[in-house]
Amino acid sequence: MNDELNYMNTENLKFFGKVNASISHELKNILAIISETAGFLNDLAELAKQGKELKLSLLESCSNSIVEEIQRGFTTIRQMNRFSHSVDVPVMEVDLMETLELMAGLSGFLSFASHVRIENKDKDIKTISTCPFLLQHLIYQILCFAYESAGPTGEIRLHLSTENDKGILLSFFSSTQMPVERFPDEKIKNISDTLGVEFQTNHSFYELNILIPYTCEKIQGLNYERK
């Protein structure tokens, strides 16, 4: 039991670190663009001092680019903030659609990430009572599993549907064949066991299905009042 717990703790910490490293990478890219654009504006100013013509269209394009990158930075920081707070409580009511959007966004920073499309966004999907951090970890790992075969040019579609009164069915459809015989791997299986998530096979190389229970019985006991 202790070995299992240690393994899970280590894997969860690795996941937390990996996501934070990818966020810092994204922010550095944003800062690099802003830095080069600001440097280019300085260059233009220097040339203008030397009597060269200064095109207003260049100034506009530079300022627009800086504004776009600042917006990109805000979006990234909002994602970082939501992710960081997911460890605040062990169990809470989780909006599954929001979690999918966050994980699609954060895993999108990986160099091998495919394009992710979330379907039926407008459908009324109930919230579930579970561990937000572990659920994020599970979705992130399954997305990574799917990305490895689809690659940067492929697409992963996520689809939610209610499955009787047991829980919500989450399907991952890939544009390319996946090594389904290796699914779930040890990491995904361990997180799923804790969350009470079941795997549903349909013998397709293009589809992975998981059934997420409305209430995660196994970790309800960990709930506590937020201080």
Partner: protein, 134 residues
């Protein structure tokens, strides 16, 4: 002196190429490793500035492919990561790594050292855009 900048962050490489052009250095850009290989097949570059983490071919894999095309080509790696894992396949102890965001004058000094060109005056702007708009 001709260099190629390879990075999937398109705005970053485009802006860097413009700033290098203002300093008299002609720079082509490529947004993927495959695009870089195609360009390098028809152009003799002196230096390749490569992002390490790119979709498809990584910077370190790209270095090996470009090196086989042009054995004398020099490499500078640019990364948004805080630390570089030099155990990655394709990296070498004497490879040069610059962290984003970077100082363009330092990049130019690095290129000069690699090519022993010594022809650029730090901070001086001598536009060389070959007729292209900035």
């Amino acid at each position: 002196m001709k260099i190629i900048l390879v990075d999937d962050e398109q705005k970053f490489v485009n802006m860097l190429a413009k700033r290098l052009a203002l300093r008299g250095i002609e720079a082509d850009v490529a947004y993927t490793g495959d695009e870089a290989i195609k360009k390098a097949a028809s152009t003799a570059y002196d230096v390749a500035v490569l992002d390490i983490k790119m979709p498809g071919i990584s910077g370190t894999q790209l270095k090996k492919k470009l090196h086989s095309l042009h054995p004398n080509l020099k490499f500078v790696f640019v990364t948004g990561h805080g630390a570089v894992d030099k155990s990655d396949e394709g990296t070498a102890e004497n490879d040069i790594y610059l962290s984003k965001p970077m100082d363009i004058e330092f990049l130019i000094e690095t290129i000069e050292e690699l090519t022993q060109a010594g022809e650029f005056v730090p901070g001086s702007l001598t536009p060389q855009t070959n007729g292209r708009d900035l």
